[in-house]
Amino acid sequence: MKLFWIVILWISETFTGLIRNMWGNATAVLLTVACLTLFSVSYVVGLNATYFSKTLDNKIEIRVDIKDDVTTYKKYEKKILNLKGVSDIQFVSKETAYKKMEKEMADNAEVLHAVGENPFQAQFIVRVDNPSQIDGIVTQIKALHIHEDVQYGKEYVEKLISFTKTIQRIGYAVTVLAGIFTIYIVTNVIKYNIDKRQDELKIKHLTGAGMLTIRLPFILEALVITLFAGVCVYELFVWGYGKVEEIIRDMITYAPLLPKEGVLNDLFFPLLIISLGIGLLGSFISTQRFIAKY
């Protein structure tokens, strides 16, 4: 029963403190929202970058344009398929390549007809298990000397992934800086709240209130501030992610973006932990430094 009344006291003191310094607390909420938004954007960019690279990994293929004098396709098809790391191979004859292009060009097929002779090479489309092995496989295919040309999008993909990861890293660095700044703000807001209640604290000390009873309302205040900020940011993503997704899809139809539900699920716990972490750390520093100990 005693614990019940103590908890009621903590809650009432927490909300009294929040109301007493309403503007200071509102500022802290806004700054925490800014910090958590930066973190969440970086995190979601990271999630999408990973998803994007996985999607591309599955789509990476090597296109081998076969020399016209090579006729023993089956033999080479088998050889390539037996190479370590090759998951699949598909032979596309000159005719199939021509028909495919004709179909893709549809109304503009006349341009192709104007070329006259079939300009396409027979091709092997080779798929690999792991994009990191692609260099080795390409070297081995080239060693067969059946190729007119070998093309694969590895460099492009790598550049894209590296670019996305750089953005993600910059995002995390900014988040860390913003996090430190937010902890500083929370620390100062709680310091201000402590200063405002010095009279009460003096009496609490004098009459033997426990240190936990003295400190907890301030810790709870900070947690309410940062958790509220966390909820705001989450709601911002609930509302905004779908809209951003829509805009990107308008620009790039097949953009590999994670669905909203998945992003929100993945974001929930990291956001919760960061919110709690900032609140706990900020209030811990304040209560340690600015509340006198027994």
Binding site: K2, W5, D199, E200, L206, A209, Y294
Partner: protein, 248 residues
Amino acid sequence: MIEFRHVKKMYERKEVAVDNVSFSIHEGEFVFLVGPSGAGKSTLIKMMYKDEKPSSGKIFMFGTPIHRLRVSKLRRNIGVVLQDFHSSLLKKKTAYENVAFVLKQQGKSPSFVKKEARKALTKLGLADKMHKFPHQLSGGEQQRVAIARAIVNNPKIIICDEPLGDLDSENARNVMKYLNVLNQEGATIVMSTHNEEIVKEENKRIIIVQDGVVQSQEEWNMSTISGIMNGNVPLSPIDDMLGEGENS
């Protein structure tokens, strides 16, 4: 109840506030701690409620070495009244709320808080002033609210550091009247004071502190005590006696 054994307190820069002090205060006693300003009275009082730690020596409270007692536990079992009642009362809370505040911090139920806070205020003659704010009360009444707050836990020891300091003689006597009642009800009271009149009138045990040292009460007469309290300090009882002899 309270025992000091060869207690020494040194502050930073090696300033000695209390030097080799020993005394005992027994259950149910009412003891005045007197001496000039800076003699070490407040340091002794602060050590009793663990606001200061002794540099050496031992202090026993309720028969237990004070260093073994948790501060919060100790302070819940003693009542502390300070001189500055203006800042020790919460200005935005009524007399009742000021007293109830202590019990609420200890997780007591609302019905218990209500009953005990009313009881403490009634005991201090403030039954009709419960819902007044500190600025609506006289200095003496405010100090009585502070005493009510100190006794709301029913402590066996009440420690008062210059509680009459900011009061006129009428209010001081009024406060003393209530402290005497509490003493008669069994509370042990230790009170540091500068109020010479009250010390003379009350005729209680006196512990004299001078330059951080406790002097033996038996060797002093009342006029010498007055001299000490006014800061007109003889070096020792022997010097005092010699001085008297020369004059006569």
